[in-house]
């Protein structure tokens, strides 16, 4: 899994590239959490091709850690298969997901 900090101004945009499974989820979680500060975060999921059970926990831990730091994570543009997993398991209710980065940006700008 490749984790890239794509943008770091008033908003952080972090992209994921690869599979989020047992072999990658702990590191991915730790890498993203290390990047968290007060700024809002958009995690681009477009190239995340799979999320396993441990991957779901990583996404949830990231969101919870962000909240504890007083900010928020929006997961943007997850592929259909990943959305399906989130819906079936109900994690969709605990993770904020939107269809595009632009939509996530709009939400953050409205929040301000």
């Amino acid at each position: 899994m490749k984790v890239t900090l794509e943008r770091n101004d008033d908003i952080k945009i972090i992209s994921l590239d690869g599979q989020l499974d047992v072999s990658t989820s702990d590191n991915t979680r730790d890498e993203i959490i290390a990047l968290l500060d007060k700024k809002p975060v958009i995690v681009s999921m477009a190239k995340c091709t799979y999320v396993s059970s441990s991957g779901l926990r990583a996404l949830l831990m990231i969101a919870k850690t962000a909240k504890s730091k007083g900010t928020k994570v929006i997961y943007a543009e997850p592929i259909e298969e990943v959305v399906d997993v989130l819906k079936m398991t109900g994690f969709i209710k605990m993770l904020h997901c939107v269809g595009s980065i632009a939509e996530a940006e709009r939400e953050f700008s409205h929040a301000n």
């Binding site: 779901l56 926990r57 994690f91």
Partner: protein, 694 residues
């Protein structure tokens, strides 16, 4: 870094160390996975590891002699990709059939404590029978965000149980949900359940089972083990009931369902089957227990054959201390980890049989369950009979704690409603809480689970649409399913060319049943779909019908809107009257809480030909006002006048329900009664009156 979590040995490519002897099954530990298994008769044991869905193992690791304490083998294997892993055990020991030992080291066995089982991940997908390892244990990441949820704490008195089959509930196209036939699909229907007003959902078995067990083809129809009363894995949720089962995420999907049901104040009760397993008799497959410790887990005859008190080939040896612990571990796991609120025990009388099969007066298993700290608030419901002739309705060893499916309630109410003679006294006893069966002092408020229909038998609509069962589709020449249905077709068998007046009568009979059920003292249980007249086309045993016979037809909800409206209103009526739930704080001065009446007030008529029963409930409303309810049931085919009991001077009766009025059975505005007149209850009709202050 812990010393006792570091590798001590190497086996082939694997770093290993002695494991956790107090654990059962598999668990994730830092850097590895712990595997623990016990077998009293095993000489040796091997851990067999597979990549997901592969036929051949990638590793077979024998437990070293030093990895054993007592009869427990435990080993930690490091650096495993546990999400892509399936495992089993091979156990070597004596083969001596007469002594009950049938060890076979060639069989790869399912972990009896497996929290996830793979192999039937997608419902109905044809298995590869050439694969010798069919039911495959998986390691679970037991980690879930419950958001503060715990099993619900409200009193059991408030229970209104809704019995449903996970798949059948939403599988039909008419359900309108996205994930049909799954836990996720059921979750989509929570708003419906909340609106209906039920406070608990009781799910037919959801422990992993094999829908292909006993699969047959009859007249081109594929028949499956649809109900699932045949457990493969006691700790594992049925993967094929999860939309996410193909990713082995069934635990998450089920936990989310339970969490959201709780958020809507709906409890979850599981129908559990501890009387037998899917391993059958001596001709059945080795799945788990048979190859681990056959004579521990099963009740065997002196020459090694299986006792069959379950009617399903074998009988679990429930009062053996090892099996007892397994059952207790299992129930504690479902309550502690899944936040399940209670259990209904299939053929529970078996749970009270001794190791030689004889009934016990003080069965240790039932006592353990009754007093277990984790199960303290769990609802425990017994189906208090078994297939070996033990019938314990009313005298199930209950420890003041167990409820029972009240089979007499079903039979008496059915017989009375269809107009049988000699049933007035019995039905009055059923409506007033069956205290002739369940002494309230010993059994508490909630011992009687009242039901008129359940999965086993006719639906409520069919009860009044068929005189005879129509089970031809089950392929047994009509020999399966009960014959003592006490059903009545209202004068027309089935639905073809159904005359309108017969249909009207059927709807009235269904409303009569609902009115009685939801005013009776005890815990009411409704079969899913009965509230909108769901039919099984006269099939009273569709255990194998994974098709439209069993699946709820939600289009009926519109067609039979009057039934749904009636059920909903009666459920809300019950909730508004604490006395019906034995939750009334006090009773009005000078009145008993429960009284029975005939055509004349205070004069109950117990004669054979009487078919008119009145019951008055006297209690207090939630805000402390006097509350009177009168239900008058006329099961006769002619109308009868009744005199209602006199009320305190400042109150008068008003009619809220009259099932004789078709779509208008529920009054929009209650109609005041003139107490100087008789009330005429129509033929085969029920009225419900409440008292109004004047």
């Amino acid at each position: 870094m812990r010393i006792d979590m570091s590798p001590t040995d190497v086996y082939g490519d694997f770093k290993i160390r002695p494991g956790l002897f107090l654990e059962n099954g598999s668990s994730i530990v830092p850097g590895g996975v712990n595997f623990s298994i016990y077998s009293t008769g095993a000489k040796s044991c091997e851990l067999v590891l597979f990549h997901s869905h592969e036929k051949e193992p990638f590793a077979v690791i024998p437990f070293p002699e030093s990895y054993k304490i007592g009869s427990v083998f435990a080993m930690i294997v490091f650096d495993l990709d546990y999400e892509n892993l399936e495992y089993g055990f091979r156990v070597d020991g004596e083969y001596n059939f007469e002594r009950g030992n049938v060890f076979d080291k060639t069989k790869t066995l399912l972990d009896p404590y497996a929290k996830l089982v793979s192999g039937r991940n997608v419902w109905g997908k044809q298995p590869d029978w050439s694969n010798e390892f069919q039911y495959r244990s998986k390691v679970i990441l037991d980690d879930f965000d419950w958001e503060g949820d715990v099993p619900l704490q409200t009193p059991h008195n408030e229970l209104i149980i809704y019995e449903a089959h996970v798949r059948g509930f939403t599988k039909d196209e008419s359900s309108g949900v996205k994930y049909k036939g799954t836990y996720a699909g059921l979750r989509e229907k929570i708003p419906y359940l909340k609106d209906l007003g039920v406070t608990a959902i009781e799910l037919l078995p959801i422990f992993e089972f094999d829908e292909f067990e006993g699969a047959r083809e009859i007249d081109g129809n594929k028949l499956l083990n649809y109900w699932g009363y045949s457990t493969v894995g006691f700790f594992a949720p049925k993967a094929g009931y999860a939309a996410s089962g193909k990713y082995s995420m069934q635990a998450d999907e089920l936990k989310t369902l339970i969490k959201e049901l709780h958020q809507n104040n709906i409890r979850v009760i599981l129908d559990v089957v501890f009387n037998h397993t899917a391993e059958g008799n001596e001709h059945g497959p080795y799945i788990s227990f048979k190859g681990l410790d056959n004579n521990t887990y099963y009740i065997l005859t002196p020459d090694g054959y299986y006792y069959n008190f379950s009617g399903c080939g074998n009988t679990l040896n429930c009062n053996n201390s090892i099996v007892r612990n397994l059952i207790l571990d299992c129930l504690r796991y479902w309550v502690g980890t899944y936040h399940v609120d209670g259990f209904r025990f299939d053929l529970a009388a078996i749970l009270g049989r001794n190791q030689d099969g004889s009934p016990m007066s003080n069965p240790p298993l039932l006592e353990s369950l009754a007093y277990d700290p984790i199960l303290k608030n769990a609802i425990l419901i017994a189906e208090a009979w078994d297939a070996g002739g033990l019938y314990q309705v009313g005298n199930f060893p209950a420890y003041g704690r167990w409820a029972e499916w009240n089979g007499k309630y079903r039979d008496d109410v059915r017989q009375f409603l269809k107009g049988d003679a000699n049933r007035a006294g019995a039905v009055a006893a059923r409506i007033t809480g069956s205290e002739d069966i369940y002494d309230r002092y010993w059994r508490g408020d909630c011992a009687s689970v009242n039901f008129i229909t359940c999965h086993d038998g006719f639906t409520l609509y069919d009860l009044f649409a068929y005189n005879d069962k129509h089970n031809e589709a089950n392929g047994w020449g009509g020999s399966d399913g009960g014959n003592d249905n006490h059903s009545w077709n209202c004068g027309w068998e089935g639905d073809i060319d159904l005359p309108a007046d017969i249909n009207f009568l059927r709807h009235k009979m269904i409303k009569n049943a609902a009115a009685i059920l939801l005013t009776s003292i005890g815990i009411p249980m409704i079969l899913a779909g009965d509230e909108f007249g769901n039919t099984q086309y006269g099939n009273n045993n569709p255990y194998c019908q994974d098709n439209k016979i069993s699946w709820l037809d939600w289009s009926m909800l519109e067609r039979n809107a009057d039934l749904h409206k009636f059920f909903r209103a009666m459920i809300h009526f019950r909730k508004n009257h604490p006395v019906l739930m034995r939750m009334s704080k006090g009773i009005p001065l000078g009145y008993p809480m429960l009284s029975v009446h005939g055509k004349n007030a205070w004069q109950f008529d117990n004669s054979a030909e009487n078919r008119v029963v009145g019951v008055m409930f006297a209690g207090k409303t939630a805000d402390g006002a006097d509350d009177f309810i009168y239900i008058g049931v006329n099961a006769h085919w002619e109308s009868h006048g009744v005199w209602l009991p006199a009320l305190p001077q400042n109150m008068t009766w008003q009619v809220e329900v009259n099932t004789d009025l078709g779509d208008a059975a529920i009054y929009a505005e209650p109609a005041q009664l003139n107490s100087a007149e008789q009330f005429i209850i129509g033929a085969r009709s029920v009225i419900i009156c409440t008292a109004r202050r004047i």
